[in-house]
Amino acid sequence: MSLIAFLGAIEAGLLFGLVALGVFISFRILDFPDLTVDGSLPLGAATAATLIVSGVDPYLASLAAMAAGALAGLVTALLNVWLGILHLLASILTMISLYTINLRVMGKPNQALLGEATVFTPFEGLGLPFYWLTPLCLLVLLTLAVWLVNRFLSSEIGLGMRATGANPRMAAAQGIETGRMKLLGIALSNSLVGLAGALFAQIQGGADITMGVGVIVVGLAAVILGEALLSTRTILLAAIGCVIGSILYRLAVAFALNADFLGLQAQDLKLITALLVVIAMSLPGLRRRWRSRRRGR
């Protein structure tokens, strides 16, 4: 694997680290399986790309993408909390609706960003080649994001959010408005994913309506991989684990695609990712069953 391919994998891993942090908040902290991300990633991308093309500052455009993601998450949480629709279904409904919204935002199935200034443009004067620059910028951003997520989840409100996911009855008895916590948490989670979408569009050179397909599985794979590698004893470790999991996932994919003897091609990626998640999620259960069978003998 070439250095550029290696750094490209690191870059993609860091970028999807944002998605992994979002998925960590919804799936792990709130115990809320949220598929909205498949729609909020392209939403962030579409919002940022459209705004940048129409002359808005890329930083403002990225903030707007975060807000759009938060709004999408809020819709999912409202469907669940106010209307009592099952969380999984609520998120699928939002995801499907976002397909239309994203087409409406762009006015077409994709929006190119060729030659436009991006959030990375101001750093180009540093003299680094682009394949070093983007991953470094993302590394700084992810460090900040991990710090912020950890800081938030250690606050009084963040602790309330963790209790909401872990023991809702106890949380309510301690005065935590569990519904409000879900609204806040899912909005926060999707704002991170919206930001990932915005940056993705600016790195890739455009937004595309199909770029969200399977994002949830990639995010989940990163979270699970992170949990397998690092302890989840503290929130900080778990958050760092999300990012490292995401990077390792990308590196593994890059190696697999590079290894010609495997005969794998880019189009096999989604199936491999899904299989990886199935294996990772079933391993603990299988291991337990296998152990108890051995003991029973």
Binding site: S154, E156, I157, L159, R162, A163, A172, A173, Q174
Partner: protein, 264 residues
């Protein structure tokens, strides 16, 4: 003071399994009173606690805490006035949070939660001091996950959590029922110490008639959603478990088949 006015709760109304859980229940609890509640399964004990905590909403009637009508309040809103210890030791805390984080959650009860770190130096010292008073050696384990503690330890911590902040009423829902006899006795002694020490208004539901008479200063017996016995003072101190049992059989109109359970 807690006042329940004509509280009615019906489960599955209009269906074949319609159950009157509470029938126009009237109850006044004065400040500082320690009330014990007994009754068979389905008598309405848990429903009574849930109605006060706000987990179950009454079909009709009003609940007043210190003359404030809280009937329409959510559980979270009422938590500023109502503290609770559940029967299941696992229910009262979060096993994936540390002992210290669980206490921090409880120390925010009744306050607005902010973005400040939940655990700080002052709180840490305060928690350490309070947990040390349990005499269980847990004050050195504030950073351990709650899930590592035994049922009795968790229930003791739950009691501390419930009484960390001021409360208008403390609800104890058979909080020793899931413990072994020795641990149950320890938690019950701890309950007496905390309730008396802080002069808390308390309502304790129990399955044990002996416990109902030995603790507190007023005893209620519930049957089919009604209060069939309400004793306090001298009449109560003269009462024996046998008297209570006899009364119980009278209201049920049949001999008890679960004597053992009621006597422990």
């Amino acid at each position: 003071m807690i006042r329940l006015e004509r509280i009615r709760v019906t489960f599955h109304p209009g269906s074949a399994v319609e159950t009157r859980a509470l029938c126009d229940l009237q109850l006044n609890i004065s400040a500082g009173e320690f009330v014990t509640v007994i009754g068979s399964n389905g008598a309405g004990k848990s429903t009574l606690l849930n109605v006060i905590a706000g987990e179950t909403h009454a079909d009709s009637g009003r609940i007043l805490i210190d003359e404030r009508d809280v009937t329409g309040w959510s559980t979270a809103r009422r938590s500023a006035l109502v503290a609770r210890v559940f029967q299941d030791p696992l229910a009262g805390s979060c096993e994936n949070l540390t002992l210290q984080e669980n206490l921090a959650l409880a120390s925010c009860r009744g306050h607005r939660r902010s973005l400040r770190p939940a655990v700080n130096h002052d709180r840490h010292n305060d928690f350490r001091h309070r947990i040390a008073q349990l005499g269980l050696g847990l004050d050195h384990r504030l950073n351990d996950r709650m899930g590592l503690l035994s049922g009795g330890q968790r229930q003791a911590v739950s009691l501390v959590m419930a009484t960390l902040n001021p409360t208008k009423i403390l609800l104890l829902d058979e909080h020793t029922a899931a413990l072994d006899p020795k641990t149950a006795a320890f938690v019950m002694a701890l309950t007496d110490r905390i309730v008396r020490g802080l002069g808390l208004t308390t309502m304790m539901v129990t399955h044990s008639m002996r416990q109902a008479l030995a603790h507190g200063d007023r005893t209620l017996m519930l049957h089919e959603g009604r209060i069939v016995l309400d004793v306090a003072g001298a009449a109560r101190s003269r009462m024996q478990v046998a008297d209570l049992l006899q009364l119980f059989e009278q209201v049920r109109g049949q001999a008890l088949d679960d004597d053992k359970l009621l006597l422990e």
